[in-house]
């Protein structure tokens, strides 16, 4: 972020005159910030209290953090975890700014290493309700914060200092003439000017041994540092600002990259959609088990679909029935029709395979067994044991892919399509979340060379990683999600990471 580079010669925090800091930045650029848990935070500022209380008690729902409020039907801890994952943890540090008139707060959100990832501003809106805005730091250099109609704060990552500037009408060459200089983001030429203050904090200028914040020996004072003008090219997008009045943090208008956290909404997002800084688009808040698709709508996560499947009474009954069949010498199973009904899979005329009738065009899923090892007795009295690969076979995979493609052709929701294999080594389910047009079923699943590669991959890498590698490397398919339901009822999603290693991701209940 380069708009304020000219400020970097300043060694001290510059702050808005409306903010009287009780804690200020260190002048030593090399020193690390001292982040502490917010439980150690003591303040009488109602906004900060509200925020800290919320964080400590995980009462995100109560505080209606807009992005995650719809997820509050789950555990508050998970909501908080999602928030922290997106923006960082709210921790008290020297970078926390609270004004003495109790109208504003500014909190840095950090990762576990204390690196500032986002800035969180709390303020009262026009109705006297506390609102929060959060802005993620994406740039390497820093982030700009709007703290008032014409006031901006820049947090510089390189020296961990705030820099303040005001935007005033000046010798701007804006085309509108009368527009304030904070509309410079829409200006194609000209410059913007502002008053620059240097805020000097400490017991003495240049003293690194700062006393605790709030100490009577600790003081900050604003020093006027001139009137500066800068070119449009030095700035990034600033808020257009359409409200009058100066001091205090104004309500977000959604045009400055801020995400409303406390119920505020972006003017670019029609309620109930909220602005998502990660995707840069308006999204619907989603309940647990849902996620946003590319259009910002809520769709079920793979885990969410599995939850649906594994809590379907009919399906569970069929699975439980099949659990008792793995010791047979004949596979058994059921197909499920799009109307929800289950049909027993018949044994093929050869007496061994399971047979899916050719009129099963409305099939949306199947569940079947893979057997335990079983024996035959040779003529010399020795026993030969048939060792079974208790994972979906290449033929199971191809049948599943054909079913997905058929469902797509009949406009049936793909997220309902599944295949389940019940065995004594585990219950596995396949679902499809990929691009139907890229499905490849041209492989012969019973070509001895294909089966050889399948079995070698299972032998070498284990049944889960081996099968996933078979899907990817041998059949050239993607979008097949594999999950295992464990004996305790928990569900693990299985996938390959970028290095081709097995990644097991438990679904949260």
């Amino acid at each position: 972020m380069g708009e304020l580079k000219f400020f970097k010669h300043l060694k001290y925090v510059s702050v808005c005159s409306l903010l009287c800091l009780i804690s200020c930045n260190k002048e030593d650029n090399s020193s690390e910030e001292n982040f502490t848990d917010t439980s150690e935070f003591v303040t009488t500022n109602p906004i900060a209290l509200d925020l800290v209380t919320s964080v400590n008690s995980f009462e995100i729902k109560k505080k209606d953090f807009a992005l995650f409020s719809q997820q509050a039907s789950g555990t508050n801890e998970s909501d908080m975890s999602a928030f922290e994952q997106a923006y960082g943890k709210i921790r008290y540090s020297d970078l926390v700014m609270i004004d003495s008139t109790n109208t504003n707060t500014l909190f840095p959100l950090t990762d576990d290493n204390g690196v500032v990832r986002s800035l969180l501003v709390g303020y009262y809106d026009s109705e006297g309700i506390i609102q929060y805005l959060v802005k993620e730091i994406k740039e390497d250099s820093g982030v700009e914060v709007r703290i008032g109609e014409n006031e901006r704060m820049y947090y510089d990552l390189s020296d961990k200092n705030y820099y303040y500037y005001e935007i005033e009408e000046g010798s701007s060459n804006e085309s509108s003439g009368t527009a304030k200089s904070h509309t410079i983001h829409s200006s194609s030429s000209g410059q913007a000017c502002g008053f620059v203050y240097v805020n000097v904090c400490g017991t003495a200028f240049g003293n690194d041994d700062e006393p605790p914040s709030g100490s009577p020996d600790w003081a900050c004072s604003l020093v006027y540092d001139g009137f500066r003008c800068w070119a449009v090219g030095d700035t990034t997008v600033l808020d257009a600002g359409d409200s009058s009045g100066g001091g205090g943090i104004t309500e977000d208008d959604g045009d400055d990259g801020w995400t409303p956290v406390g119920g505020g909404s972006s003017s670019n997002c029609s309620s109930p959609r909220v602005y998502d800084p990660v995707s840069g688009s308006c999204i619907l808040p989603c309940d647990p088990g849902f996620e946003n698709d590319e259009n910002g709508n809520c769709v079920k996560t793979p885990c969410g679909h599995l939850d649906d499947l594994y809590t379907d009474a009919q399906y569970v009954a069929k699975v439980n029935q099949l659990k008792g069949n793995t010791g047979l010498q004949q596979e058994s199973g059921f197909s499920q029709n799009s109307n929800g009904s289950f049909t027993t899979l018949q044994v093929a005329p050869n007496g061994h395979n399971l047979y899916i009738p050719s009129n099963s065009t409305s099939m949306i899923g199947y569940v079947h067994t893979h057997l335990d090892d079983f024996d035959k007795v040779n003529s010399d009295g020795t026993i030969t044991t048939n060792k079974i690969y208790r994972m979906f076979s290449p033929a199971d995979l191809r049948t599943f892919l054909n079913m997905v493609r058929n469902a797509s052709a009949n406009n049936f929701p793909l997220d309902k399509i599944y295949a389940t294999m019940v065995s004594s080594s585990g219950i596995y389910t396949m679902r499809f979340t990929g691009d139907v047009s890229s499905i490849n079923t041209t492989f012969n699943p019973r070509d001895d060379r294909i089966i050889q590669r399948f079995k070698k991959l299972i032998d070498r890498f284990g049944r889960e990683r081996g099968f996933l590698k078979f899907i990817k490397d041998v059949t050239n398919n993607s979008g097949v999600d594999l999950a295992k339901i464990n004996n305790d009822g928990t569900i693990d999603e299985k996938e390959l990471d970028d290095q081709g290693k097995l990644d097991t991701n438990p679904c949260e209940n």
């Binding site: 061994h352 019973r446 060379r449 070698k456 032998d459």
Partner: protein
């Protein structure tokens, strides 16, 4: 990486490669969740344990006569991995009627019965017949019979997974013996 090791029970110094695993050790990893050790790239018949299966073996089941020709073969490097296996070609006749003949099939063509693993005295092979998509497939196990080294147990387990009716309006019968038979070395 080549490692030089010394066998104290033998006078000769032996060389072994830690990227190799003897074929007879593979089966012990079947219950290992992660499969074989990552560094194994060649399952090799270091101790020539597969040699006893090599040759021509004949037998019968019902009205069918069977001839199996077994050779030892090193697979090409596929997925960064190669293996010493047995390949089994076969001819099945019913009187003068030739039901199937794969004796002249090339090594990497379909319809050859391909070795998979050795478990003790028993060797597993992958069988996919001409109508495999419609059920002619399964596992074959061979083992030298306790009745003599020129006798071999032959056991076929038909495959049991899904057949799609849309692809198989008719289901062919199995041509492999559905019960264990004994083969005789020629």
């Amino acid at each position: 990486m080549i490692v030089v090791g010394t066998s104290y029970s033998c006078k000769a110094q032996v060389l072994f490669d830690n990227s190799e695993m003897p074929v007879e050790q593979v089966a012990s990893y079947f219950e290992n969740e992660n499969g074989l050790p990552d560094h194994i790239t060649y399952v090799k018949d270091i101790n020539n344990v597969l040699n006893k299966y090599v040759g021509t073996w004949n037998g019968s089941y019902g009205n069918k006569s069977y001839e199996f020709r077994i050779v030892k073969y090193t697979t090409p490097l596929v997925d960064g991995f190669k293996e010493d296996i047995l390949l089994m070609r076969y001819k099945i006749v019913n009187g003068a009627n030739v039901i199937e003949n794969t004796l002249n099939i090339q090594n990497e063509q379909a319809l050859i019965i391909r070795g998979n693993f050795l478990d003790g005295n028993t060797y597993n092979l992958i069988y996919s017949g001409r109508e495999s998509l419609c059920g002619q497939h399964g596992d074959i196990y061979i083992s030298i019979s306790s009745l003599g080294s020129n006798k071999m147990n032959f056991t076929f387990f038909p495959g049991r997974d899904l057949i799609e009716g849309s692809e198989c309006p008719t289901i062919p019968d199995h041509i492999m013996p559905l019960d264990p038979i004994t083969l005789t070395k020629q």
